[in-house]
Amino acid sequence: MKDKSKAASGILRSELQEVLTHRTETAIAARIDLRDAVCRYVDAEQSRGTSLAIIIGTVKSILAEAEEESVHATDELAQQLVDWCRQFHGKHLAMLEETR
């Protein structure tokens, strides 16, 4: 009887591990896609002369809308997006300086 419950527990744990791994990889891939989408958007808006403050505000409001549909909102993603915007804006400015 104990052996059976041990075996069942082992199977359950194995299944949970598989689900965990799959969902982690999915979340990472989605995060990378989001990063790339933010990069393209920031680059395009900067080329039109939009200020970083406005870009960041827009990206944060997009996130707020997306998280309204999710049960739990996280500050972590908002901070991540802001950091990406600043990183890409900094790169864009550096490139513009080099071409002068």
Binding site: S9, L12, R13, L16, Q17, V19, L20, T21, R23, T24, E25, T26, A27, I28, A29, A30, R31, I32, D33, L34, R35, D36, A37, V38, R40, Y41, A44, E45, S47, R48, T58, V59, I62, L63, E65, A66, E67, E69, S70, V71, H72, T74, E76, L77, Q79, Q80, D83, Q87
Partner: protein
């Protein structure tokens, strides 16, 4: 006699993205943000379930965390390694995973 004409330096004309193009990119960010939020929520649920099962088996919180990190880091996080700019975000994700695990471990069981 050769006429040496001063030629103006070539300027590379990079067209300014149109408002419509920016709008399409903004929509793409919306869609990507939605998928990211959904996938993070699904991950959080999986972490909670994993934690609860191990906790109810009598595993200590330290060992639950180690088991969780072993599963995730060994198979999934090498994906991040190919994106150096992701390291900062990766560490935040690591912290979030650990937080979810500990929160769930010490959450009081509801009847």
């Amino acid at each position: 006699m050769e006429e040496e004409t001063q030629r103006a330096p070539l300027s590379l004309h990079i067209p300014t993205p149109s408002a419509e193009h920016c709008e399409r990119l903004r929509v793409a960010v919306e869609q990507a943000a939605s998928r990211s939020a959904e996938s993070m929520e699904a991950l959080r649920v999986a972490i909670r379930e994993f934690t609860v099962v191990l906790r109810d088996e009598g595993t200590t919180p330290e060992l639950v965390l180690i088991a969780l990190k072993t599963v995730i880091y060994n198979r999934s996080f090498p994906t991040i390694a190919v994106h150096p700019t992701e390291w900062a975000g990766g560490s935040r994700l690591h912290e979030k995973i650990s937080t979810w695990c500990i929160e769930e471990f010490f959450r009081e069981k509801t009847a």
